[in-house]
């Protein structure tokens, strides 16, 4: 049963700047939050930003059912996200939620999560959720350099953390797709992936070649975010599907990228 979509003014309880380009916004609802699932996202209205018009979509990064809060991991890309980065504790922000579908449980108990850039956003929530279901999580994340790496401890709490850096300052050198773990990728029951399109496509190809199930979370640009405008579609084996409604999570077998 799909949770009803709502629009609410939420309170900022924390704004944690991880580095120059990434921050975490923790938001609290006036009433009880719905039961979010990993993969789902929210649409945030940016106020007082003259050059932005549409809401901005962000994946749920973490939830705290006791505090009744959830967290968004946001990368500062343009005016909209820059405005949000200035939000202070106690300020209100209008949010539409819960949106989208979610990642699904694997048939086995051993999975690999692959994230690049702010693609790691939904993967932390996913990792914690899988761990609660007694699934063994290996997380592989790709960065430019060691100094960029954030939330290491949070990921390590959910499972094994592997890292690549383009300059070799930490972990293996290069892109995630080149990591040595892919030599034994068949040992995983499923791969979950989120990041830049070309990274997801490359991981999807590896998964197909090695016969491993793979789910990705797409980040197509959206106008409405709740299935009405038909702007965010991605082609699949059963026609154009809305990334905001039939997605953002898709099994790579369905995608005809």
């Amino acid at each position: 049963m799909k949770e009803k979509k709502v629009l609410h003014d939420l309170f900022v309880t924390e704004n944690i700047h991880l580095n120059k380009r990434h921050f975490i916004l923790e938001l609290k609802a006036p009433g009880l939050l719905p039961q979010f699932l990993p993969g789902q996202f929210v649409q945030v209205l940016v106020k007082d930003s003259p050059s932005t018009f549409l809401r901005r979509p962000f994946s749920i990064h973490a939830i705290d059912p006791i505090k009744n809060t959830f967290r968004l991991l946001i990368q500062i890309k343009g005016e909209g996200t820059r405005h949000l980065s200035f939000l202070r504790e106690g300020e209100k922000v209008n949010v539409m939620y819960p949106l989208g579908n979610s990642f699904t449980l694997p048939s086995g108990k051993n999975v690999l999560l692959v994230g690049g850039g702010c693609g790691v956003a939904p993967l932390l929530f996913l990792a914690g959720w899988l761990k609660e279901q007694n699934v063994k999580v290996t997380m592989l994340t790709g960065w430019k350099r060691k100094a960029d790496i954030f939330e290491k401890e949070a990921y390590q709490q959910c499972g094994d953390l592997l890292v690549t850096t383009e300059d070799g300052s930490e972990g293996e050198t290069g892109m995630v797709t080149g990591h040595s773990i892919f030599k034994s990728v068949k040992s995983f029951d499923r791969i979950y992936c989120c990041g830049p399109d070309r990274m997801m496509k490359a991981i999807a190809h590896i998964a197909t070649r090695k016969g491993v199930e793979c789910e990705v979370s797409l980040e197509n640009t959206m106008a409405c975010g709740f299935g009405v405008c038909l702007c965010c579609i991605t082609p699949t084996t059963h026609g154009n599907q809305r990334v905001c409604l039939e997605g953002p999570v898709f099994n790579t077998k369905e995608l005809t990228w």
Binding site: K4, S51, F53, A223, C224, F226, C229, P235, N240
Partner: protein
């Protein structure tokens, strides 16, 4: 008691606020946010003869105070609409109007003929901003003789209220309005989107897969108001106005310019409940200005 009702040709609206085609799905999708029974009417997503997949992604680009879209009229065709969608939406407590699109005159006629049989659909809105594939892709709504031709072809077989939605991408909107009235339109709605382009300067590429797309949102309001004003002076049929309406004040401006009713489109993406806020805002305006009936506002510029 303020009278919010509006009569447009044979259509009876409980208030002047409707939703624009392509921005409200088929109504169902908004059920979490809006009680459809509160609206004057909804115009559902364009229905074409056959299934249309629409254009390739990317289909949209945010622009200053608006957005460009090139969705490409994605829909599953009229037969699917009649079998799967109509049964779900026919009993909504509001006017359910079907937007009709086509790439040939024959297609418009075929779709209109089928919708004519649907008891609970009181009107169709002819989307003439489509390219005519039989005439090298010339948009029906930019050529007066094509506009007359398609309107009169549909008029011959469609027995209920015929709304024709005008494209603003023309030199003389009055000429286009007169043409469709000559063709038999009962009501005119305008404006559809303005043709525009968005460019990614870093990638040095157009953002939309189709390069050009339709501009909507507050950016187009002054153009839309001007065209509603011009058209309502040029023809005698009632006019439904749209183009960047975000709040009640915008809606009232369109009525003052000559519109008997308004359609709210892009604003729904940002606030799915905006139509209700607009209805409430119109009521507040009427109380403040001691307006007894919204009909007084139509063409009410002094």
């Amino acid at each position: 008691m303020i009278d919010f009702s509006v009569i447009i040709s044979h259509l009876s609206l409980k208030n002047p606020v409707m939703t624009a085609s392509g921005t409200f799905g088929y109504g169902e999708e908004f059920s979490d946010f809006v009680d459809l029974g509160q609206l004057g009417g909804i115009v559902v997503k364009a229905v074409s003869g056959d299934n249309r997949d629409g254009n390739a992604y990317p289909r949209m680009a945010e622009t200053a105070s608006g957005m460009l879209n090139s969705v490409g009229l994605q829909n599953k065709g009229v037969d699917y609409f009649i079998q799967e969608i109509y049964p779900v939406i026919k009993d909504f407590d509001t006017n359910v109007i079907v937007n009709v699109s086509g790439s040939t005159i024959e297609e418009y006629v075929a779709v209109a003929e089928k919708i004519n049989e649907l008891e609970k659909i009181p009107a169709i809105e002819l989307n003439i901003s489509c390219p005519n594939v039989k005439q090298g892709g010339m948009v029906f709504g930019t050529n007066p003789s094509l506009a007359i031709e398609v309107t009169s072809a549909v008029r011959k077989i469609y027995k209920k209220d015929l709304i024709v939605k005008l494209s603003p991408n023309v030199t003389s909107i009055q000429e286009m309005a007169k043409a469709v009235v000559d063709g038999g339109a009962d009501i005119i709605s305008l404006i559809n989107t303005l043709l525009g382009i968005a460019i990614d300067a870093d990638k040095r590429k157009p953002i939309l897969s189709t390069i050009t797309g339709g501009l909507s949102g507050p950016a187009i309001k002054p153009v839309a108001l001007r065209m509603v004003w011009q058209v309502s002076k040029a023809v005698k049929v009632p006019v439904i106005g749209m183009g960047g309406i975000m709040n009640a004040t915008d809606a009232i401006e369109f009525m003052l310019a000559g519109a008997s009713a308004v359609q709210v489109g892009t604003a729904n993406f940002i606030d799915p409940a905006v139509t209700i806020k607009i209805i409430d805002g119109i009521e507040a305006y009427c109380r403040l200005h001691k307006v007894g009936s919204v009909k007084e506002l139509v063409g009410g510029l002094s």
